[in-house]
């Protein structure tokens, strides 16, 4: 699946996007955040406070307990500050 990062999540990880293949045990958005946080210190820094991280699957807002099965594109970003 393709992951996209925005704003300070992007800056901390140092990438705008990447392809990943998490293990089958990673079932939800929260699981994916925990798995990513273990991939290196830049990921640990980006995801140090999972409660503030927002996520979208295939361009729709989702909650931490949303299953990721079948997702093509998952985005992680801080709370939005548009308008």
């Amino acid at each position: 699946m393709k992951l996209l990062y925005f704003a300070w999540v992007r800056e901390r990880i140092g990438k705008t996007e990447e392809e990943v293949a998490p293990p089958a045990s990673v079932g939800t958005v929260a699981d994916l955040v925990a798995w990513l946080a273990g991939r290196g210190e830049e990921y640990a820094y980006a995801f140090e406070n999972p409660k503030v991280i927002r996520a979208a699957i295939d361009r729709k807002h989702v909650q931490p307990d949303t299953p990721i099965a079948g997702a093509r594109e998952i985005a992680f970003f801080p709370p939005m500050t548009g308008g």
Partner: protein, 158 residues
């Protein structure tokens, strides 16, 4: 359902031009509400010399379209225009425009307010401010979440 105009763009916009485009040749519109969001030179006690709006291309358009559709379902609107800029802006520059048109004023006022509250909290945009001490991302405000929450029907009914 009335077609809406939704644009994401780097370029500036002109509110009067957009209102004219929405109302030209129409005699059924009795009220037009226009909201313009403008880059200001201060925030929370510090100066702001510029800000850069980052967005999630694709999702931003879709998310705005979902909220426009909800506004059209909740209020009898004759027209809606939403323009959101991205890129770097300096104080005085336009950031966002919402225009709502209806037969009577209340629908236009409420729909414009609803759309702005949702743009603030649900549309995937992020502001990076340039301040005297460097650049930093703008933190989301609880007051914006509270403003958006008042439009949730369950809350409104209680």
């Amino acid at each position: 359902m009335m077609a809406a105009t939704i644009r994401l763009q780097r370029e500036d916009f002109d509110a009067a031009t957009e209102v004219a485009a929405l109302t030209r040749g129409r005699t059924d519109i009795g009220a037009v509400v226009t909201f313009s969001g403008i880059c200001r030179d201060h925030e929370g006690g510090h100066g702001v010399s510029a800000m850069t709006l980052e967005h999630y291309p694709g999702m931003a358009e879709e998310e705005i379209a979902r909220h426009v559709a909800e506004a059209q379902a909740r209020w009898p609107l004759q027209g809606v225009t939403v323009i959101h800029r991205y890129g770097r802006m300096t104080p005085g520059d336009n950031i966002v425009l919402v225009v709502t048109a209806s037969a009577h004023r209340q629908a236009a006022f409420e729909a414009a307010s609803f759309l702005m509250d949702y743009l603030k909290t649900r549309a995937p945009f992020w502001k990076l401010e340039e301040r005297p001490d460097g650049k930093d991302w703008v933190a989301a405000k609880d007051s914006d979440d509270d403003a958006a929450a008042r439009w949730v029907k369950d809350n409104a009914a209680s």
